[in-house]
Symmetry: C2
Subunit: 537 residues, 2 copies
Amino acid sequence: MVLCRVPRWSVGLWASPGWWRTTCTLRALVRPKRGPGCPGGASGPLACSMFSKVSSCTPEVMLTQERYPVQRLPFSVVSEEDLAAFERLVPGRVVTDPEELEVSNVDWLRTARGCSKVLLRPRTSEEVSRILRYCHERNLAVNPQGGNTGLVGGSVPVFDEIILSTALMNQVTSFNSVSGILTCQAGCVLEGLSRYVQERDFVMPLDLGAKGSCHIGGNVATNAGGLRFLRYGSLHGTVLGLEVVLADGTVLDCLTSLRKDNTGYDLKQLFIGSEGTLGVITAVSILCPPRPKAVNVAFLGCPGFAEVLQTFSTCRGMLGEILSAFEFMDAECMQLVQQHLHLASPVQESAFYLLVETSGSSTGHDAEKLGCFLEQVLGSGLVTDGTVATDESKAQALWALRERITEALSRDGYVYKYDVSLPVERLYDLVTDLRARLGSQARRVVGYGHLGDGNLHLNVTVDAFSAALLDTLEPYVYAWTAGQRGSVSAEHGLGFRKRDALRYSKPPPAVQLMQQLKALLDPKGILNPYKLLPTQA
Amino acid sequence: MVLCRVPRWSVGLWASPGWWRTTCTLRALVRPKRGPGCPGGASGPLACSMFSKVSSCTPEVMLTQERYPVQRLPFSVVSEEDLAAFERLVPGRVVTDPEELEVSNVDWLRTARGCSKVLLRPRTSEEVSRILRYCHERNLAVNPQGGNTGLVGGSVPVFDEIILSTALMNQVTSFNSVSGILTCQAGCVLEGLSRYVQERDFVMPLDLGAKGSCHIGGNVATNAGGLRFLRYGSLHGTVLGLEVVLADGTVLDCLTSLRKDNTGYDLKQLFIGSEGTLGVITAVSILCPPRPKAVNVAFLGCPGFAEVLQTFSTCRGMLGEILSAFEFMDAECMQLVQQHLHLASPVQESAFYLLVETSGSSTGHDAEKLGCFLEQVLGSGLVTDGTVATDESKAQALWALRERITEALSRDGYVYKYDVSLPVERLYDLVTDLRARLGSQARRVVGYGHLGDGNLHLNVTVDAFSAALLDTLEPYVYAWTAGQRGSVSAEHGLGFRKRDALRYSKPPPAVQLMQQLKALLDPKGILNPYKLLPTQA
């Protein structure tokens, strides 16, 4: 094994846009090509079927209303008069073409599909305000949509909700090069913002595989976690201000660009992670950390999960402030990327693999720290094999092994996806447990994720969707997680698909308070209905 | 000038309790000695005067109800039956002795004084729940109180509110030595927690001058900022879970110990910074960063504010991830600590002084980074003189110059205190502007604070309190701040004294939403009344 170290300047996470293949691959997934399909929606309620003649769909994505037991709420149905009114509010930016709508009606996992007949593209918060005021008065449901990269069916309509796209709200308002505070509209694409602040020697405090498509407003609305969470923490800490349009059209201006502000309740926090159900985020102010001068990536093999945990503790102690990622994947994950994507493992076969990234301000210091750490973990047997990126393509290849697992999974069959937070010591027990429980019912049960954040991505692959297996998995996975006081959704949110799992992570008084907040902020329930909050009995 | 570097391990911020003189001094201020005083409260409303015979006070602290135009709201008055009921709820922990109550009725700045007749000392959240359920039913107002170290009159009663002290809720529940997640009761003193986690090689993510007295529950309730904010960020990011008792006694258990949890609205955020007006925080789960192995302190002289800003930018670039504090003070501040505390300046006379602290994982690396930075700023003339701590006592002495300004100010006369957030470029303009505006009306107009956070502490000293000068200062300072989209309270909160300044930092729809949230969570308004929200017209 050769240990070499190079700075990852302009590599991978900090790369210029389009450079990194993994990102490109994911972007391709985000907007899957769709050919003209069969007419759909005929079996839906009146609201969905009224335009069914002009609707088109990709056959394999069932309408959400058909796949799941969900009842349309008594919202109004969009009329010709409504369309005319929208045309007056956002002239030339009212989309009713079924082909164009299709992309926004289906989520990127291709497991949820709405049948909205209209998508609006406002450019300003004032336009959003006028739209919502109108919809509120008319009792029309609205599905706010950013880059439509969500994983829980939260970003697409369930029935015929009006899609309110932030795509044209894509202007940077200001950037302070002393404080690193960026203010921009909600529809700015994360990758574009990354590039913008990197040119000014800062980085965005969050990074995601979907950065080529996702909008910063959507990131905030879903409290996105991602790859820099370990280092820069939650959006609850890095988002400094928000402008939000409430359900009735009121513009709530909490768009301060200040690190500290203790004047009254921190209202913006309510909207971070509210998944568009309490208001539509129209602008964001966010604190960007200085751009690291040196980035290193190491890929390591570990003989067992106990050693993974010990390596993490050692790593935190020895790499300290320069540690920026500590990701893990199990042997099954490695087999998946080898089998489906033909990626080669850079280290000998192991039970677990770790990806450790450092980001710091000194190439020499960081290399020295990383070297000492590697010497320690290799010497003590915690790690049995390892490699460090020697050039840009190797750094890229190391990250790809971890980042392309999602893609490899999707090629393995139908995937049941779970994203849980657990106490780190118990993190992998759920995988082992489930593997034993499912036996030959599953093709694979794999675990990977952000170990440093206690965040496990648990995936089960099978030949094809089976309701029986779903019953075996749920609520078992949720109950197991609840037994450890874990979270049934660490970073993906609840959206449409997981909303009824909420009670596994939150007690009844908390759920009740959430419902009260929803009723206070959106009394008619028009904002992103059927999402986040559990089905009312 | 001699540049030497030593690790600040076990020095200053990371010191064992009681070691650091500054902390001790502040602690002494927190609990000023009070002799038996005159009877007071006779001129208050019935609720306050009913026990006036047994009440005692220190003459110079006027009753809040007498100093300010405030009307008692129609809460019930504590009766003998109530006292008997409390005795059943928290046996032996119902304080009615006037001497004992005095300490909790007066704030530590000695500018606000309530006339509560009873203080309760629950030990558990269940006891808090029973107390609040009782008070809610009886319409009795409650003033939650931690260490009573607040600076805006938020931690003491305005009239006769029942004081609910968290002092006996002081147990650590758990600490995870892999993740660094601490869970404890709300009444744990910050310094005790710091010691506890330091023994386990972690540090608390916040540090304050008042750490010897302040409670973690109070820190969270007021969203305390302090000295480590620049490095570890806001409590909105580091607090992972809260247990809160609502006004009606409902226990809201959001006490998860997870870094990531996207299941529904992040309810705990509502209570961070709500100053006890929405619920009583009874337990906290918080993420502690690993303890730095090396700490260095530099004290520098700068010729002008433009140079201060450029030094900050240079510092962020060159010290990067090890920068843990960037504090500034003006020449008047230095004169104050020299005159009143007989501290000596370690550098030649300058227009501005900076305190730069680094905290990192490598003594050698950190010293090298700091050395390069100092070479750069001295060489370029941004900094004209500087010194670095050569031993523990020097590190202590450097921090004392910055931390003891508050104490020096209080010896200079009556102090009008402001704590504002501003864009860093305009931070000092407010001081210059006000100095010109006040002319000889003020003894001194001084500025210092957490430059790295855009947080200015603006203080005006005069011989004695003058209502006319107050009118010159307010709303001028607030309007000036609002003109820059700043915050009229960066970290101190609004409490009683600043609640009517809220509108300078938040627009009417935001204030209205805050009032709606208060009405939702505390419909009778019994929790910390007269605080945070503006006086209702």
